[in-house]
Symmetry: C2
Subunit: 222 residues, 2 copies
């Protein structure tokens, strides 16, 4: 293995570490909401600093590899994909922090009924995150495609739940605060789904050398 | 001018076109909210396709320049910064669409009082967007720094307005829908401010070769 290959291997390992930290933060943030688990919320807040640090390390290594080795073709695409996925993962870390903060507010406000949709939407979103990262590791374009299809389902579930929570707020002013926190959670879950879609699109670019953004969405919607 | 310099010049011009499209979309989306201007909302929706196309063109050109010319040092940093800023600008285009959609819902629902804060917050956010892009064009680190300082002000204004709208919702169920739309607008404005912050950080990296993310925020907060 030459120095460039070693560097590339190190870059992949760091991105896997980043992925695993972010997936873990997402899991804890959802546990914090669904199980009213204050400790899980704290774990998310504690993991933010490590995620921020590793983001900087990955970017620095990627740029060093570009500067020292001037890679071409698929290796260049791989490094560009890592730079983009890294940015998405860091934002996903921030979004878990947002969910954990909503969970903390929900724990303080009286419990309300319609939380049933959250675990379901969260499960779908977590599966999108997992698949998009697996697709990157395996260079699996079909798996990436399946992520894009799920995005529409998450959007429509979120819209239904939105209307349900709005009528809940209109029924009783006491419901306004908890319902706003639940709305914030589902909105953030939808943003996590959007980031998984970005990652899936980056997998296409990396594997096929074709940029499918703003085109695949239309293809899968039809 | 050699071919690489020509390519780099073309890349900068395309990014300026992208910036101007996005700034224009933001302006129209705010007009749509503040002046209940249906035509302005439509302009934002119409500009989305062009923004998406130019995003792909910029990415393709940046990657071509990396592949064909293997630039080093400040030119490499410039291209990486363009790739990152391009991603932020495209998302900012999406956020203007979100504001335009909220404007359309607001036009359909009866007018409510507390809209006064929106033009003020919007003005601050637009000034952040402008400064971050000017800082990139001029390579002006001090101007980039001033963007980071404004982010905290936008956050605190948004929080105050949030509490105001929540009490408005609790007072009368009729207020729930319009207040939710106004909340969506301010939340999206805050996300626009976050993207300007990202751009300002990319300017630091491009000019100084130093990655200041997750560090400058703390410095300016103290």
């Amino acid at each position: 293995m030459n120095r460039f290959e070693e560097g590339l291997e190190c870059l992949k390992i760091k991105l896997l570490e980043m992925s695993s930290l972010v997936e873990n933060a997402i899991q804890c943030s959802i546990d914090a909401v669904v199980k009213s688990d204050q400790g899980a919320a704290q774990k998310v807040l504690d993991s933010e600093a490590r995620i921020n640090t590793i983001e900087l390390e990955i970017d620095a290594l990627a740029i060093e590899l570009l500067a020292l080795h001037q890679p071409m073709a698929s290796n260049l695409r791989l490094i560009i994909a890592v730079l983009k996925i890294n940015t998405d993962l860091e934002r996903m870390g921030d979004l878990s922090v947002a969910i954990a903060r909503s969970a903390q507010s929900l724990i303080e406000t009286p419990a309300i009924e319609p939380i049933v949709d959250i675990p379901f939407i969260a499960g779908l979103v977590q599966s999108m995150v997992r698949k998009s990262l697996d697709a990157f590791v395996a260079g699996d374009v079909d798996l990436a495609l399946s992520v894009l299809a799920s995005d529409d389902i998450v959007d429509s579930l979120r819209t239904n739940y939105y209307h349900q929570l709005v009528s809940f707020m209109r029924k009783d002013p006491q419901n306004v605060n908890p319902a706003l926190n639940l709305l914030a959670v589902t909105r953030t879950l939808e943003r996590l789904a959007d980031h998984s879609t970005n990652i899936a699109e980056d997998v296409f670019f990396f594997v096929k050398g074709v940029d499918v953004r703003h085109r695949l969405g239309q293809a899968t919607n039809s």
